[in-house]
């Protein structure tokens, strides 16, 4: 990948990676750090990563970095507390979107990640498997179960309303 292609990758995917991480960890500062780390790693391997694989490389790196951050924070015991505190940006959503994002928060980390990679980024099961390190059938199971959880939440909210 050339420097020009790297810069194009920054322009095209930095927002996507940022949103993906932000929705998962719900901490803007940490999300920024993870995005910067991911692009730094991409830059360090700029001669090795082909341009057409840059997006996948970025998401893979960002995802793995995010998992590390989540594990580290969980070890420190402040994850839930931090998540709740820094969830304020979600308040901007309205209607179905808001309900959906509340439903997303109820998914496990891995379920949330695979659903977002599927819906926001349009990755197929194989690509999601590459990014998350899961097998094809694992990806499918996580997505199907996640949809069930989301649907049940939507039904329950509609029932209340």
């Amino acid at each position: 990948m050339t420097v020009k292609e790297y810069n194009t990758t920054v322009e095209m995917y930095s927002d996507n990676v940022f949103r993906f991480i932000l929705k998962n960890i719900r901490d803007e500062e940490k999300a920024k750090d993870i995005v910067q780390d991911s692009f730094l790693k991409l830059w360090q391997k700029v001669d090795e990563v082909p341009a057409d694989k840059s997006k996948s490389y970025l998401f893979t790196t960002a995802y793995r970095t995010m998992i590390d951050v989540i594990r580290r924070d969980k070890k420190q015991g402040n994850w839930d507390e931090v998540s709740e505190k820094r969830y304020s940006h979600q308040k901007q959503y309205t209607g179905l979107n808001e309900v959906l994002h509340e439903a997303l928060a109820r998914l496990s980390e891995i379920q949330r990640s695979v659903v977002m990679l599927r819906d926001y980024e349009g990755y197929d099961y194989n690509e999601i498997g590459e990014i998350t390190g899961l097998s094809l059938s694992q990806v499918k199971v996580y997505i199907f179960r996640a949809r069930k959880v989301l649907k049940d939440y939507l039904v329950s909210v509609e029932a209340v309303l």
Binding site: V3, V17, R19, K23, K32, V35, Q36, L100, S137, L150
Partner: protein, 350 residues
């Protein structure tokens, strides 16, 4: 019958309520409703009691009990999610159609599953994008570094304000003049200084004062005498120099004609030096600094100015790794400059 759409759906609802739709048509109707859930209320108005009874059948009960082996979901959930995911086979599609037609309650579920698809979200923009952009870089070969180093060396030599004294080795003891190296260096040094004096005096001698002096004395010295006098003055200068530089310098052989250090203001000396032209002097004595400059100009700069050569070298290197700053240039010399190579910075002020 025409395919169901938003223009003819009421006729379909009526046929449905009367039980005149085929199984296939009921599936189509259900799919249409799942895609347009807002019409569900209208359909409810058409529905007959017999359809409600249909909802509770043994087939539906089985559907709730049997679970998919891998996902652990009911068959109907699995098929509906597969439909939403676009990962459904033809057989599964037909199976789903049959399930939905036999259980109208699944229509709502199918609509709900469609809603679980996350809409494209543009909220949240990464603000640190500009910090990630990288400048274009060039591959820098080792010889580029080498040529830059050569240019740098030339730059120092070209712009250094080194006086002739600095050509002597640091810590060199003039007492050791009897050593060959010391002698050679000191001779060169004296020769350069002598040359400088000759040039200066010669310049003066070409002025009109020389003629006035000659007229006043009504005696013009012969050329032979002038040359002899030049050598005399040069020897006296050399003697004077060593006396000033070091008290311990062994004086040259006694010359009865040299009694005291000469003084440059002497009109006699000006007269004596008139025979030496600048051209002749140039051929005999070349100060080492001038020699080095000429050599570099000819062999390193190759006809270009120093600024051009350095600029070319720098331009060949990466902008983000090497920067070169010059404050002012006057007559080919720089007032100050700074050369930054990565974290290394070399700077000098005149």
């Amino acid at each position: 019958m025409e395919k169901i759409n938003k223009q003819n759906y009421e006729a379909w609802f009526l046929d449905y309520s009367e039980g005149s739709l085929s199984e296939r048509q009921i599936v189509e109707l259900n799919i249409f409703i799942s895609l347009n859930p807002e019409l569900r209320v209208e359909l409810d108005g058409f529905e007959s009691v017999s359809l409600e009874e249909e909802a509770i059948s043994s087939a539906n009960l089985m559907d709730y009990l049997i679970r998919e082996e891998i996902t652990g979901l009911t068959r109907s959930d699995y098929l509906m999610i597969a439909a939403v995911e676009g990962a459904i086979s033809k057989e599964e599609k037909a199976e789903l159609g049959a399930l939905v037609s036999s259980n109208t309650g699944l229509v709502e579920d199918l609509a709900m599953y469609h809603k679980t698809k996350l809409p494209k979200d543009e909220m949240g923009v990464f603000t640190g994008k500009s910090g990630l952009i990288q400048k274009e870089r060039k591959v820098i070969a080792w010889w580029m570094y080498a040529s830059t180093a050569a240019a740098l060396l030339a730059f120092f030599l070209w712009n250094s304000n080194i006086s002739n004294e600095q050509y002597a080795p640091r810590g060199f003891a003039w007492e050791a003049r009897e050593e060959n190296l010391g002698e050679i260096l000191s001779r060169n040094f004296v020769a350069a200084e002598k040359m400088e004096l000759r040039e200066r005096v010669t310049k003066v001698s070409f002025s009109s004062k020389t003629n006035q002096f000659a007229q006043q004395n009504e005696k013009v010295p012969s050329k032979k005498r002038q040359n002899r006098e030049v050598l005399l003055v040069a020897n006296r200068l050399e003697q004077q120099h060593f006396e000033v530089k070091s008290k311990s310098v062994t004086p040259p052989k006694e010359n009865p004609r040299i009694e005291a250090p000469i003084e440059l203001k002497s009109n006699e000396m000006v007269d004596a030096l008139v025979a030496v032209t600048p051209d002749q002097a140039e051929q005999k004595f070349v100060p080492i600094q001038k020699f080095a400059k000429d050599k570099i100009k000819k062999e390193v700069l190759k006809g270009k100015t120093f600024s051009e050569t350095v600029a070319e070298e720098i331009a060949n290197l990466s902008n983000d790794k090497i920067t070169f700053e010059i404050e002012e240039e006057k007559g080919g010399l720089f007032d100050s400059f700074a050369l930054n190579i990565g974290k290394l910075s070399i700077s000098r002020n005149r």
